[in-house]
Amino acid sequence: MISKLQGKNFWLIILAAVLAAFPFFSDSRTMTILLTQIFIFAILAMSYDILLGYTGIVSFGHAMFFGVGAYTTAVILDRMEPTLGMFILSVGAGMLIAGILSFIAGLLTLRLKSHFYAMFTLALSGLFLVAAEKWRTVTNGNDGFTFRAPELFQDRTMFYLAALGCLVLVYLILSRFVASPMGRVLIAVRENEQRTASLGYKTLHYKVTASVVAGVFASLAGSLYSVSLRFVNTSVMTMDITLDALLMTIIGGVGTLIGPILGATVIEFAQHYLSGLARDYPIFERWIIFFGIVYILAVIFFPQGIVGWFRQIRAKRLGKREAAIRAKQPVLKAKAEENG
């Protein structure tokens, strides 16, 4: 335990402590809000990485789970009393709905080739977006609605700490999850599904579980997001959210939990500053093109992301065989043609 603390975890604890102390030393409102946003999207990106990085499943419907969380929390807080208890209840309800949804989506498509899950989640999230636009009595369509956040979260600093706490908690839960026997099987599925199946593992069960875990934590991120804005509209269901999660995961580093957090930090800061630049240089209004190009190049040339890159550098510097093995991070690898 102590030896473990001296390694990576030690630095993470320091980092979390510094971040927790940050709002008491700085009174930059923008920075507090930006960091809160980063914490929330880091949760979303980590949940996405359970699918993409650990299990090798591509989902294009992550915005749906995010949106389910956001709307559940917003509707419950709006219709009921905006108390902390109601908030926790709404988070739980959102996670439950997202879990059921991802269970169904997984059960229907995960026994087929990886394309089916991507297509099905894309179509299903398209359906949810239209439903959110059309079901105006609940969602008020594209205009959205504002609601009152619980009193405790009215204070930006308190909400900042709550989001940070959630991030740390989700990180701990997910790192236990991927280190568990369950998580090991997921990695085995990613590496070679047929071989895993022939070892006697029911890979469908494991893949559906990964889908559910990802959906549930994405919903948590959505709940936090809507409370951070105290407003919700259909934008939480759009493809942009899925793309954000994808970009953060890929650029940060797939198959790790630190990667998505790093990715969320990089992307959020870049968005913040690039949209600032857009005021002076109109070309930056289309900053998403730059991201798209960076993303394509990353998929081709840089499939291990920032974390993988660091590991490579470290492996080179140490020049040790051990480090080289540790740096091997064969994610995004082709899954051999499953079932022909």
Partner: protein, 287 residues
């Protein structure tokens, strides 16, 4: 009666447009197991360039030809730059084609501006005929006609020509075709360009049908095309026609009778197919 007739014509017209999109997708998938998420982007480019060429030349035929050429060029670029580097790697392919879709639709906003653009129907195709008390809108019949012609041409190529034979064989067993000394990658490039041309044609025909073009239309239609590909069976060309008509008709009837279910009905169709016949209704090979 008139109402049912109109709904049917509507559904068939929409179905034909989806078919043009899904035909390329299904053949591309059947040949190389590449699921092209950028297909909707090619569709949107077809729509915008159709409107653009119509605006400068005033000729509908030139605008359609221009859109098809745009599709071919973009298809070539997509295959060479985006698909080729990640052959054989499904996860990377899915990720990269989606990224390209994003770039394509954002580029539309850079080139043509972020707002939606109105699209005009040429005079000789606007208006309607009245046949026995039923009003038939000319442009919708025109789309159905084009769809049938394209289906016949592609079916002829697939069934009666040498390249069609190679494509059909490649869909069933790619390795065997390669073993016989045929460069499947080159065949795939042609099929990809042809698929892109069909998507662009669909876009160019869609523009006057919906009246406006906007950058997000690509993704919206691509979702319908994916549903069609799943229902029809991956790699099945006739399947994509039948499934597209099914989806088009279901959407059109539902939009009238149970509007709130019009999008859900396609999802339900897809879910039912996935549960009971995951290889698709008219499959060419095992899923």
């Amino acid at each position: 009666m008139g109402l049912l007739m109109n709904l049917t014509v509507n559904g068939l017209a929409t179905g034909m447009l989806i078919f043009l999109l899904a035909a390329g997708l299904t053949l591309i998938f059947g040949l190389m197991s590449v699921l092209n998420f950028a297909h909707g982007g090619l569709f949107a480019w077809g729509a915008f360039s159709g409107v653009f060429f119509y605006g400068i030349t005033g000729s509908f035929i030139i605008s359609v030809v221009g859109a098809i050429l745009t599709g071919i060029v973009l298809g070539f670029i997509t295959e060479k730059l985006i698909i080729k580097p990640v052959y054989g790697n499904h996860v990377q392919q899915i990720l990269i084609t989606l990224g390209f879709m994003l770039v394509l639709s954002e580029m539309l906003k850079v080139v043509f501006g972020p707002n939606q653009i109105a699209a005009k129907t040429p005079d000789y195709l606007s208006g309607s005929w009245e046949v026995g008390g039923v009003i038939l809108i000319k442009y919708r019949l025109f789309i159905i006609l084009i769809g049938i012609i394209v289906f016949a041409i592609v079916q002829f190529i697939l069934k009666r020509t040498k390249i069609g034979l190679i494509v059909r064989a490649g869909v069933i067993n790619k390795e065997m075709v390669q073993a016989l000394g045929i460069d499947i990658n080159k065949v795939f490039l042609y099929v990809f360009m042809a698929g892109a041309a069909l998507a662009a044609l669909a876009g160019a025909l869609m523009a006057p049908y919906s009246g406006v073009v906007y950058a997000e239309m690509g993704l919206e239609f691509a979702i319908l095309a994916f549903i069609v590909v799943v229902i029809g069976g991956m790699g099945s060309f006739p399947g994509s026609l039948l499934a597209a008509i099914l989806v088009g008709l279901a959407g059109s009837y539902m939009a009238y009778f149970v509007p709130s279910l019009s999008l859900a009905v396609n999802m339900i169709l897809m879910a039912v197919v996935l549960i009971f016949r995951p290889q698709g209704l008219f499959t060419a090979k095992e899923a």
